[in-house]
Structures are given as C-alpha cells and as structure tokens.
Amino acid sequence: MSEFALTHAWLIPLLPALAFVVIGLFTRLNKKLSEAIAVSAISLSFLVSLCVLAAVIGGPVTMDNPFIQKALWAKMGTLELSMGVLIDPMTAMMLIVVTTVALLVQVYSIGYMEHDPGAGRFFAFLSLFASSMLGLVISVNFLQMYAFWELVGVCSYLLIGFYYYKISAREAAKKAFITTRIGDFGMLLGILLLQITFGTLDFMELKELVPAYIWISGTGFMTVVGLLLFIGPIGKSGQFPLHVWLPDAMEGPTPVSALIHAATMVVAGVYLVGRAYFIFSALPTVMNVIAWIGGFTAFFAATIAVTQRPFKRILAYSTISQLGYMMLALGVGSLTASMFHLMTHAFFKALMFLCAGAVIEAMNEEADIFKMGGLRHRMPTTFKCMTIGVLAIAGVPPFAGFFSKDMILAAAAEVSTPLYLLAAATAFMTAFYMARLLFVAFFGEVREDCPAHETNSYMKWPLVVLAVLAVLSGAWGHFAGFGEWVYYGTAAEEHIDFMIAGSSVVLTFIAFALAYEIYVAKRFSSYLISQRFGILYKLSYNKYYVDEFYTIVRNTFVDKLGAALYWFDLRVIDGMVNGLAKGVGCLSCVFTVLQNGQAQRYAAVFYCGVIALVAYSIFYAFRILQLLGGAY
C-alpha cells in the first residue's frame, strides 16, 4: 500500500491539472459542475498525499534516503532533462500542507464566489495553481522546479488580476508578475551556472557533487551561484527589496490571498532554499545573507504592519514578516525550524485570511479595520477562529505558533545575538499588531450601520478545520518529533528553551496588554502616540516609501532608457528598414522607365542579350577550338 502511494505520487499534481483542463475547456460556464470537479480533484490529491504521508512515516523514506521516480522529458545530445517525483519527509509535509489548505480554500471559495459569474474561471485557476505548486514540491531537479515555479507565478498573476475590470487589480497583477520575474531571472542565471558547472540539475546528483566541488575549489564561485539562486526566493517569498508586490496582491479575491499569498506560493521560496539546502548550508556567506535578509524583512514588515489600516494589508505585511522568520531560520541553519514554522504558519495564516474574507464580505467590501468594530457579536464563529489565529501567530502556548516560533528563536539565539534580538522584537510587534487588529475589528461597540452577519456554512467549516489545525499542528509537531523527521544533516532534538520561550511569551502578553490599553480601554490615545512618533509613524504608514523609491528609480532610469531605446528603434532600426524600402523604391523608379510597354523596345533589349551571348560563345568556342584543333 505504501509502495503504491509512493509510485503514484505523480497523480497528486496531475489531478488538479486535469481539473484545470476540463474546467477551462468544457465546464467553465457551469458553476456547480466546475466547483464539483475542482474540489473532487483536490480532494483526491489530498487523499493520495495522506497515503504518501502514511508511507513516508511508516516506511524507509527519510531525508537522506528519498524516494525518487524519474522519466526522461527531453534529450538534446548529452543533455538529458528529466521530470519526476522526489519524496522525502519535507515533500510529504509540503504535500499535506498544500493539499489541505488548497482543499479548504476551495471549499471556502464555493461560498465566497456564490454570486460571482466568473466562478468557473476562478476554480480553473485555483486548480492550476494547486497543480503547479504540487508539481514544484515534488520536483526532482532545478529545471522542473523552475518550470513549476514560473507556472505558480503565472497563476498568481491570473488570480490577482481575477477582477480584471478593476484597474488596481490589473496593476497589482502586473506588479506581482514583474517583481517576481526580476527574482526569477537571477535564479535562472544561478540554475544555468549550476548546469554549466556540474552538467546536471538533479538534486540528488548535485548533493553528491557540490560538497566535493567546494572542497576542491573553495566557496568563491559557489557563493555567486548561491546568491543568484537566492534572488529567486527573495522575489517569490517577498523578502526585503522585492517585497512590494505582496501587499498589492491583496487585490485578488480573498481565498486567493489565503491560498497563494499567505499559505503556499510565497513559501515556495522558503521551500526552494530548503530543497537546495545542501548548496546553501555549505556557503557561510550566503547563509549570513539569508539570515540577515530574513531577519531584517521580518522586523521591517512588522514595523509597517503596526500602522496599516486595511485588514488584508496588515495580514499581508504579517505574512512578509513571517516569511522573513522562515528565511532567518534557514539562514541560521535550522531547516527543521523553518519548515515547522512554514507548516504552522500556513494553517494559521490561511485561517486568518479566510476570516478576513468572511469579515470583508460581511462588511460589503469595507477593508479598513477602524470602520469595523464589535464584530464578535455579529460573527461569533469568525471571531473565535480569528482569535485562535491571532493567538497562534503571537506565539501563545499551546497554539501552533508558539512551538515553531520558539524553535526559530532558539536557533537564532544559538548563532547570533543581534539576530535573536531582532527576531524577539519582531515577535513583540507581531503580537502587538495582531492584537490591534483583533481588538479594533472585533471588540468595541457595534456600529449603527454595520451590515455584518455570520457567514454561510461553506465558508464556516473550513475556518473551523483550520482553527483546529492552528491549535494542534504545533503541539503535534513538537511532541511527535518533527525535528527527527524533517532535518538537514543530523536530526534535531526537540526541547524547549524555557528562558527563550518564557521571555517571548512574556513579551507577547505585554504586547497584548499594550494593545488592549490603547485600543480597547483607550487609556492612551492612539492619535497622540502617532503624533508623538510623527516621523516614524509616517515612515511606517507609508511603508518606508519603498514603492515611491521604485517609482523614482523607474522614472529616472527605466523610462529614460526606454526613451533612448525608442529613439534608437525609431531612428536607427526603423531608419534602416525604411531606408532600404526607399532605396528599393528609387531603384524601381529607374527600372519602371525600362518597363515602358513597348514590345519593340523589349525585343531590342532581348536581341542585345542574344548578341552578347553569341559573342561570348564565339569567343569561348574560338578558344576551345584553338586548344583542340581540327574541325567540327
């Protein structure tokens, strides 16, 4: 049975892909049927993933001994490109996370898209997304991963721009696609360098080759490769310089935000670093870069999230912050912590986004949290779920976030104190802004004009399931030995550093208390505080003007370059082509004079040619006859 599940793991991405094809081609206009197809496809994938998980847990598959299945995809000379399935505990965990979240989000979407005529299209895209993400997860080599990586990007583009009639959605889709493409280009260069250097892109083969290469020729060249490879995850996982697309991506339907921009797609970068950990972990410089970019992103995004007002935007910056956490964990050498946090984060962030969807739908597309209030009376289930999510992300024991965040903090503390302090400060701020969100939106008095109501059951049950997972997944991971299961090198021991855990819990409760004092008890005026820290507040509220900075850069460099190239194209390239055309035109003017329709002139020209030929042949025959002698 376990063998069967492993050998049929290729079905996992294939089923949603089939659903995409069927919905896209045939049942797009039939909403109910499209929903049924999409949900049943992802359910089957989920079941197969469960079987794979069971097989991995019970079987001989470990991180060092993965199950591999390969098929030749294309062959050019000596270059063989293969596709296949690589299953180790990390893959199994990702499969479960992706299929679970995708399934729940799709069920949720049935309710969310109830009145949207484009639901068929939506479910097709969701299926395609699930398929490409699952394909990415089971990749055996960089090329396959890159292909699915781009496919994931395309799905993200399609889904962010789902409401294509809204200009903001179109712009956000373009922004997301182009920004991540910048990262993907660096990654492509890295992949090509790998192919050139090692002649293979296969993870298992590279795992053998890379350490030997580094041992022989040092880390210099591989550091370049590693940094290039890491640019891809920077773009895809919204790390610091390329994070700008992720908040704008909230223009898409909320289930999409939950699925793609919180739980699954954005962790592709983290997953890639994890998958290629044998490269990164051997390069101290790159590890430092990863750790510091992760740490800085976590802190930076958290400071922005403190002042934002739209519900989803706060969650988006919180996502960036949490992704920074995962990168930080990878950078300090703890694959286990990163993957553990990836899993718990996927559950509680999807939960919070789905709650956000429910709230925003209930509020008739009103996103500003300060226009909400008292929602806990109107939407009790959503409120409970949201509370669980907030407790989980803030790291309150025994919720999921506590265990994973603690593991990251412990790993950071082992390596570098500044990084630990950064992470701890981030944890404090995370607790604060999450509490702010919760208190402002759900506590206080119910507004007069508040249209909020409890959601329908399609939307309710996924919330409940995710809430359960958000509560249990951390404890399960901790006590069932996640670290002995997903690790790099040697299996990590599970232990709680009470010093670190205790201090972070204390910090969390201080943050909660602070938020309560400000936003519920109103003991301090939030307005006055914002006045006091005027510049900082403005910086944070305007997201440190990163977007504006990029606009200036674009206006000065890209537009000017474009203008120069336009000039070049217009004058030189077009000039060449047009000049050629004009030259031909002039030449044809000359020749049309010859073409005067006078048959006798033609005959004269013809006979001139005949004379020339005869004269030439006489000359030629003369020479031949001179050589041969004699008569004909």
Binding site: Q600, A604, Y607, C608, V610, I611, V614, A615, S617, I618, A621, F622, L625, A631, Y632
Partner: protein, 192 residues
C-alpha cells in the same frame, strides 16, 4: 532538280575536259544560288523598307518564293512545295486580307517606320547580330558531304508516320487549335 542540273551541265560541258567541265558546273551552281539569294534578300529588304504596306506584302511573297526555290536547290522539293503552298499561298493571302480589313486610308504612307533614332538603333542591333552569326559561320569549318538519301518525300512520309507520329499529330491538333482560336479571337467573345 539535281537531274536537271546534271542535264544542263552535260549540255554546257559538251567537249570540254573533266576539270573544266567541273568548273563550269560549279559556276552554274553558284550563279543559280546567287540569283535566288539576291531575289530573296532584295525582296526582304523591300519588305522592310517599302512605304506602302501592300508592296511590302507582295515583296514578302517574292522573298518566300525565292527561299522556296532555294529549298529545291538544296534537293528538298517537298519543303519547297510546302513553302510555296503555305507561305507563298496561304500566309501571303492572309496578310493581304488582313491589310485590306485594317487599312482604310492612304496606302502610300501605310507602312510607317519609327523615329530615325530607333532605326539607327535597330540597324546597329541587326548589323551586330549579322556580324556575330557570320563570324561564327565562317569560323566554323564544317565537314561537308552530301549523303545520298534517296527520295525525300518518301523518306519524310516514313518518318512522319512512324517515328515522329506523335509530333505530327500534335502539329495537327495545334493547327486545329490555332484555327479555332483565331476564329474566337477575331470574332470577339461578347458578340455571340
């Protein structure tokens, strides 16, 4: 024709010795050739230069007949006969008929040439052409011999109805097509 010439030779060479008789026969041959040649060439020049197109047509017939005689001189009586019938008869009559149908004004200036410049150019081109061909002909030393091939009419008939039956039939079809085509063209499609 050869028999005829031999007879003439015999009469002229009466009592002369062999070498002289050969010489005299050759002279007669040559004078017959040159006479026919001048007839053809002068008539052809007339065709080209006459200002009256009817004169041109008549001189063309004369040229055709001169050439036909040259065919007979070359021991090809069948071709000569065909030349007389087709060119000297049919084509000449056709051309004269066509002239009658298309000319209504003064015949004296009916056969206009192009400008003097054009004439000079045409003279240069045709002169150069003649020069080329004659140089080629004179430079080439042909190994001449007249084979005794027998009766040309019988021989032609044999070839035409055995080995070359397909071209012969094709030529027949071509003539039929030309006839119908000429009718259709001359009649005009819209005047049915």
């Amino acid at each position: 024709m050869n028999e005829l010439l031999k007879l003439v030779h015999g009469v002229v060479n009466w009592g002369m010795d062999t070498a002289e008789s050969m010489n005299a026969g050759v002279l007669i041959d040559a004078s017959v050739f040159y006479a026919l040649m001048w007839v053809s060439v002068l008539a052809a020049l007339g065709v080209v230069l006459c200002r009256n197109v009817v004169h041109s047509a008549l001189l063309l017939t004369a040229s055709f007949i001169g050439v036909g005689c040259l065919y007979i001189y070359m021991d090809s009586p069948f071709i000569g006969a065909v030349q007389f019938l087709v060119y000297g008869g049919a084509v000449a009559i056709l051309i004269v008929m066509a002239l009658m149908l298309t000319r209504r004004d003064d015949m004296a200036h009916s056969n206009l040439s192009r400008s003097l410049f054009c004439q000079a150019g045409a003279a240069v081109i045709s002169g150069a052409f003649f020069l080329c061909i004659s140089v080629a002909s004179l430079m080439t030393q042909f190994r001449e011999m007249s084979a005794e091939l027998g009766d040309s009419v019988t021989g032609l008939a044999d070839m035409m109805l055995t080995k070359y039956i397909l071209p012969f039939e094709v030529a027949a079809v071509l003539l039929l097509i030309a006839m119908i085509g000429a009718l259709v063209i001359a009649k005009g499609a819209h005047e049915s």
